[in-house]
Subunit: 225 residues, 2 copies
DNA sequence: CGGTTGCGAGAGCACTGCTCTCGTTTCTCA
DNA sequence: TGAGAAACGAGAGCAGTGCTCTCGCAACCG
């Protein structure tokens, strides 16, 4: 998309990439709170102040890592649904959630960065919401296709009782029945609630076979849908 | 339970309390990553090194705050179920989850401390698991009573397919049917998944009326149970 | 070729957690 | 009651952090 002409510009994108790579490496080791600009600079053999030529500060570096993480998990989710086109809904659903959990397990610090406690005093800039909704949109797309294939049906008796669902932006765009949207959001929160609990240690001394338990729970969620 | 005799011991428990109080105040302002021992010492008018007479380090102070937070949310949950004894299950369920969410909203930094990303390099000591399971036990107790009152019934066709549920410690102790335990854990993860999403901003631009939406979702969960 | 701009290095500031030492106060026990 | 031991607060100091500023050098562009 861009052809950096001058050697300067080329070195700039290259170094920006290297800084982010070193930051990700460090993130995997010590986590977000331990991420140190000076350590990154040391690893790259440059002065700490030189980093500021590429990122205005630590927060901006974190923002870059956050958008990258959102993009990755979103792409993983999209790939999972795309690879299972035509299969029954429950299979596609399990593929999607397994892909999400797999990425989270393989990149737990990145997951904690985007789905864990927000950094106080750090407001996620608007740039992050685009990548952030990719995995949500993948779920929504899967749901829309499932409704179209009658794998998921609306149960009229569970209509929106107090109108709160009409306020959900998703419902307006997707033209899904209210109760389907409601159950869809429930599945959404449960997926990430489960993964967070598993990664953050809340299942400790409660669950033994994480893999089987995850499949069990998600099958249940899928059937409820 | 303890009667500190000497003036020294009395001053010690007093100062320990004050340090924790100052820490909580600071926690509410700047969050866990910004919690500074020196700032606490300044607020209390003592030398920073004096703090170390009461807490071996920052981690131990955090641990104390964590157990306190677990205890608080656990007590809130227990109070909610105790106050609704005799009512139908769905009412008790809504009271419980509303209490949990209410505490989380009022103490979002404490909530982030215990249900958000774990601090890397910091392993929660065994002291924390006792208070940590209080709210889980409150939910479990509510479930047991509901089954006894036939508000929640086992559906045999959802029996444990692959035996993964037998590994759950909860199932062994509570003598609940496997499928009820499974749905109970699902409700558990969904409650905290929902609250975390709300607090950590994942519902941003998706949900407008948080209160109504929460009740809506939790009613759905309760009915599934 | 000369001026402008981008860049890296280094010093420096204010801050952090934590350690060590040094008097002083308080407790304990003979 | 008095001497030794234990606890305590204060201060200096160390290594580390994010970030700013200045100063030369290199690259770019008209």
């Amino acid at each position: 998309m861009n052809a950096p002409k001058t050697a300067r510009a080329r070195a700039r994108v290259e170094l920006t990439r290297e800084i982010k790579a070193a930051a990700r490496r460090q993130l995997a080791e010590v986590g977000a709170p331990g991420l140190s600009l000076r350590a990154i600079a040391r690893e790259l053999g440059m002065a700490s102040s030189a980093i500021y030529r590429y990122f205005p500060g630590r927060d901006e570096l974190l923002t870059a890592l956050i958008t990258d993480a959102y993009d990755e998990i979103g792409q993983v989710a999209e790939a999972a649904t795309a690879a299972t086109t035509g299969l029954p809904f429950i299979d596609r659903w399990l593929a999607l959630v397994s892909a999400v959990r797999g990425w989270a397990l393989a990149n737990r610090h990145e997951y904690a960065l985007i789905y864990g406690s927000p950094v106080p005093g750090y407001a996620a800039p608007q740039d992050t919401v685009g990548p952030a909704v990719r995995v949500t949109m993948a779920m929504l797309k899967l749901l829309v296709e499932a409704v179209r294939a009658c794998d998921v049906v609306s149960r009229v008796n569970q209509a929106d009782p107090d109108g709160s669902l009409e306020r959900i932006a998703l419902a307006a765009e997707s033209q899904l029945p209210n109760d389907v949207v409601s159950r869809g959001v429930a599945a959404w929160t449960q997926l990430f609630g489960h993964v967070s609990f598993e990664l953050f240690g809340q299942f400790h001394t409660v669950v033994e076979d994480y893999d089987a338990f995850f499949i069990d729970q998600m099958t249940q969620v899928g059937e409820t849908l």
